[in-house]
Symmetry: C2
Subunit: 202 residues, 2 copies
């Protein structure tokens, strides 16, 4: 059903552009295009402009690699953050989640991805050299690895641990264990096994 009809060129170009979004196939792309053109022209206009201004105005923070409009992001520019702690996360959403705990006053480094050899993402693509340079600025004492607890996130954490330890830094990882407020009966076995191994003095 794909290219049976001579579709108007602008519609075809729009569907093709939408298909490049992660998780969007040709059917979703069509549905999105019809929806925008038929029912939400304001939204289409807004999306077009938002893309253009994001491309024009956003760059990476020179210190933490997060998106920012200035040379330094708001967090890195904040003099009240503790410069001896550096927390490494996969993406800006993870940083937001950690900030929402109000329990961390150090700085961040955003990888903008994780090691994934199958997708061709290696240490070079993630610019590990830049992270190492940042971590070895003399002020950072401890690096907290807060990548996801997925296979890729764990691999990234292991790899970074080696690199950072070799440079004399203290490296830690977020604790694994039973989620707050949960009943043991409903906790999966893998999590419980880790909680046993990493048990602490009561």
């Amino acid at each position: 059903m794909d290219a049976q009809l001579p579709e108007p060129e602008p519609l075809k170009a729009l569907v093709d552009a939408l298909r490049r979004l992660p998780g969007v196939g040709v059917r979703s792309a069509r549905r999105m295009a019809y929806h925008l053109l038929q029912n939400d022209q304001v939204g289409a206009q807004r999306l077009s402009q938002a893309l253009a201004s994001a491309l024009q105005q956003l760059r990476h923070c020179q210190r933490c690699n997060n998106f920012t409009e200035d040379d330094l992001c708001a967090t890195c520019a904040n003099p009240r953050r503790d410069p001896s702690l550096l927390c490494v996360v996969e993406n800006p959403a993870d940083q937001n989640t950690l900030e929402s705990t109000h329990g961390y006053r150090g700085l961040y480094y955003v990888l903008m991805g994780r090691l994934s050899p199958l997708e061709g993402v290696g240490p070079v693509e993630l610019e590990f050299e830049r992270l190492l340079k940042r971590a070895c600025d003399g002020e950072v004492k401890e690096v907290i690895l807060a990548t996801n607890f997925t296979p890729e996130g764990e691999t990234t954490a292991h790899y970074l641990t080696e690199l950072l330890r070799a440079r004399g830094l203290t490296v830690s990882r977020l604790a694994r264990g039973v989620p707050a407020g949960s009943e043991l009966e409903y906790v999966d076995a893998g999590t419980l096994a880790w909680a046993l191994i990493e048990r602490r003095n009561a």
Copy 2:
């Protein structure tokens, strides 16, 4: 985790604009935004431009309501199509699918939706008046209702049948039955029931 951090304004605007797409929640919107900004700036540029030119260049065909760059779409402007047959479909993708059968030489009318009271889509929103005017041009003899066989599509077909019959037109619906090439054992009971009711002389 939503708005904990002072995010850069352009990033926030982009995520908000992406959330307006059908089937995209805040997490997908974030993933899309990070992906576009980090890994596919060319794609972001292309999407921005595709949206702008689609909005600017596309309008509805005066006869069939499909998207087109001109007053009339290629199908309606084709003098070799049979003007006595009018096939009503929900959206352009359905028209493409029907065209791919190479078994229909009549014209189309694209509703750009279906009746859905829960979503506030009624006969006024779908501009049924326009379809009726189109069907009563004097040339159309038979209207083939090819809306989907979903509850909404069936409702739309029933509703249109009443309206069109009252105007003296022959109204037909796509046949329901056993899909070509399928074994009866694997056909669902509802489909089989219809195939029995609508059995034809062998």
